[in-house]
Every structure is written in C-alpha cells, then in structure tokens.
C-alpha cells in the first residue's frame, strides 16, 4: 500500500462520518467504512454489526481479545455500556425491517439511479454476497464510500451498472475523495466538492450525468 492511499481513504471516511446524525444506529462495512468511527464523536452513534451486536467499542488491547466478541469483519471488538447481543436472524430483522438508520458500505459501481454493485467482478473468483444485499435492501439510509475511479481511471459512478447488482435504487449518498453526491428521487445530484477539487475534474471522472446543486457549503 502506498503512502497516498491511506490519506484518500481517510478523506472519504471523514466526510462520510458527517453523514451520520447523533443517535443513529449505524452498520459499517469493511474497508473505508471501518475507518469512519475515528471521525465520530465517541458515543454519538450506535454501531451495529450483522453477526449479532449493537453498541460496541474499539479494537481491544492485545491482552483483552475475546474470541467470543468479533465484528462482521471477524475482528475483535469490545463491549461498551449498553451493548446488546442477538442472533443472526434478529440482526437481519433489524436490517431488513428498516430499524438500522444508516449503512455505510463500499462499492465497485453506483449508477445514477442509485443502483449498487459491490459483490462480484466477472472473471474473478466470487466469494459471496455476505450481508451486503440485505443491508443495501434494508437500511433506511445507504451511504456509499468509495474511491471516485478505478486504479486505471475508469469511473465507478456510471449510467448503468456493468457489474452484477447488489440492489437497485437504494443508494442515498455517495462519498468519494472528490465529491459528495445524493440520489434524489432517482436523479444523481452533486451536492459538495471536496476541498481543492473542481467541478470540471468531477465531470471528467464521473461516468454519468448529474445535476449540480448550488450552495452546497460543507457543514462544519
């Protein structure tokens, strides 16, 4: 991993953290979403992990690892006051039933209508869908974090998905290192440019037409 990538990932995670509201129940995917808690006021949101815990804390110190307590990335986490454990059916009942406020998840492609592909690349070994389809279909708000383009420059925001879909019309926001988009009634709207980024650069690197909403001053 180069020294550039972590900072790009942090820029995305930091901005994604501002999509969360105090009191939200939040499910975080692996990768960039897992960096989001570092940018959230401790205790302001409740983390949900689909393997069966709501309200958990940071990674433990080496001598405090409990093999009975892991997150969905299979990494050790810690109990906090108010933590609750439950089985997988109840956990996905929370997700599918619309009780989880926000899912922050990575993606390979997002379409202008809010379709998302994040589980299979043709020609590569498909390792499974995990909980992504349930999360995308069920979370009340879906925030996608991803780099704006592939490493070779191909856009990940596209008119139509070319990769196998995870769910259709479910994405609410897309946060990249260049910009923040929202999908509003099936239309893609650019709402914010990351610091130092121009509209021209975003247009050049985005594979779908979008509207540009004026006066999108970043909060903060």
């Amino acid at each position: 991993m180069t020294s550039v990538r972590p900072s790009v990932r942090s820029v995305i995670a930091e901005r994604a953290a501002r999509e969360l509201r105090a009191g939200d129940v939040v499910n975080l995917g692996i990768g960039i979403p897992a960096l989001v808690p570092a940018f959230v006021t401790p205790g302001s949101v409740f983390l949900h992990s689909e393997n069966g815990v709501l309200g958990f804390g940071d990674t433990p110190a080496p001598d405090a690892v409990d093999p009975n307590l892991v997150n969905a990335g299979k990494q050790p986490v810690t109990e906090v006051p108010g933590s609750v454990y439950f089985d997988s059916a109840a956990s996905f009942g929370m997700i599918r039933g619309g009780h989880v406020d926000v899912a922050v998840i990575g993606a390979l492609q997002v379409s202008a209508r809010g379709d998302i592909a994040n589980w299979a690349v043709p020609g590569k070994a498909v390792l499974g869908v995990g909980g992504a389809m349930d999360l995308c279909a069920g979370a009340r708000r879906l925030v996608v974090t991803m780099t704006h383009t592939e490493k070779d420059g191909r856009p990940k925001i596209v008119e139509e998905l070319s990769l196998p879909a995870t769910a259709f019309g479910v994405v609410d926001a897309v946060v990249t290192e260049l910009a923040v988009f929202r999908v509003v009634e099936g239309r893609l709207v650019l709402v914010e440019l990351q610091p130092g980024v121009t509209l021209a650069e975003v247009r050049e690197k985005t594979g779908a037409a979008f509207e540009w909403r004026d006066a999108p001053t970043p909060e903060a």
């Binding site: 972590p6 990932r9 942090s10 897992a34 960096l35 992990s49 689909e50 393997n51 069966g52 815990v53 940071d58 990674t59 433990p60 110190a61 080496p62 690892v65 409990d66 093999p67 009975n68 307590l69 892991v70 997150n71 969905a72 990335g73 299979k74 990494q75 050790p76 109990e79 454990y85 439950f86 089985d87 997988s88 059916a89 956990s91 996905f92 997700i95 599918r96 070994a125 498909v126 390792l127 499974g128 869908v129 995990g130 909980g131 992504a132 389809m133 349930d134 279909a137 069920g138 196998p164 879909a165 995870t166 769910a167 259709f168």
Partner: protein
Amino acid sequence: MNKLYGSAPEALGDVVKDGMLLAVGGFGLCGIPEALILALRDTGARDLTVVSNNAGVDGWGLGLLLETRQIRRMVSSYVGENKEFERQYLAGELELEFVPQGTLAERLRAGGAGIPGFYTKTGVGTVVADGKEHKVFDGETYILERGIRADVALVKAWKADRAGNLVYRKTARNFNPMVATSGRVTVAEVEEIVEIGELDPDEIHTPGIFVQRLVLNPTPEKRVEQRTVRQKAEV
C-alpha cells in the same frame, strides 16, 4: 432422557449418513462447533450438503471437510478465506449456493419453525432472484425463499444444562440458535454442563426441546480470524 454423550464421535456416529444435509452454526470461526466438525470429518460420511454461513478456513472448521472432499455442496453467504474452497469451486468439484446472509438466517429460522417459505426484498433484481417466485406486496416486489430443515444440526453454545437448554456467549451466538431449531437431530457442543435447575429459566437462549444430544468440550481453541488489536497504525 439422557442427552449427554461421552464424546463428539459417539454423538455423531449413528446419525450422520452419506448424502445428508447438515446445518452448522458459527460466523467465520466465531462460535463454530469445533469438536463436532472434527468428529463429522472422522465419520467419513460423503456427498454432504452443508448449510453454514461460511466454510471455515484452510485447515480449520469446515475447511477440514473440504480437504477430505466430504462436502459436495455448500450453502453459504460468504466463502472467502479458504483457498481450497476456491480451488474446488473453480474446478467444478464443489457445488455452491450463495445465499444473502440475512436470507440464510431466516431460511434456517423458518425451517425450524415449520414455515416452508417466506418473501423478502433482499436480492430482488439480482442473480439471487433468478428462478424464484416474485410477488408484489403494497407496491413493493419480494421474492420467495424456502425454509431449510437439516437432517443433522451442529451448534456451539457456552453453557447447557442436562436438559439441553443452551446459553450462548456474546457474538458466538450468531447462527447457532436458528441452526439448532432447523435440525431433525440437533447436537450441541458446550463448554460447561450444569444440573437441571441451575440455569435461570429467563436467561436460556435455546430451549432444550430443540437439542437432542450434548457434548462437552471445555477447552475449545476459539481461533480469531482477523486478529487486529489496538496500538496499530492507521489502517
């Protein structure tokens, strides 16, 4: 009725047969019935269909049964972390049914509760929906998914009493309660067995009615799959 067996091999010896469908609890390596999986391997039973969220890793958990080619078909949500699985699958030696994780949990829950099928919006429009009945409720499209009954179910709990009432520990609970209900014969591996009456009836997670056999394994290995700890630099 005595549910306690002297060892995992004794508990599985007369119930596991070639071609059976087994459901196995656990999420990754967390909350897997380690001793029962080893005993299942040692039964030598073949052509098994195994329903489990994951397929273990190379050399541990259900990965052990992939090495011995005892599994013909896996029903799972995610099978990364296992090179042998990938090799057998790409070589066409192993069938695989991908099920979204929440759908898998609900299919086991439904099967155990006598519900043959249910509708869900998870997977609508994707490859998961191929060939399944679609139905519109209140303007939204859902697909029909089937409940799963297992010939034999293997679960891991923390504590049991002699009646088979189970208590799980933290996130090692995961799929185990649903898997327990799905089995025609359910075998539970636990770390401690207490007398009837010693568990608080209000704190039992799986009632013993779902558990036919018990095996004591006081010292499971409990491997941690992704051992990240504090003091790390930025990811």
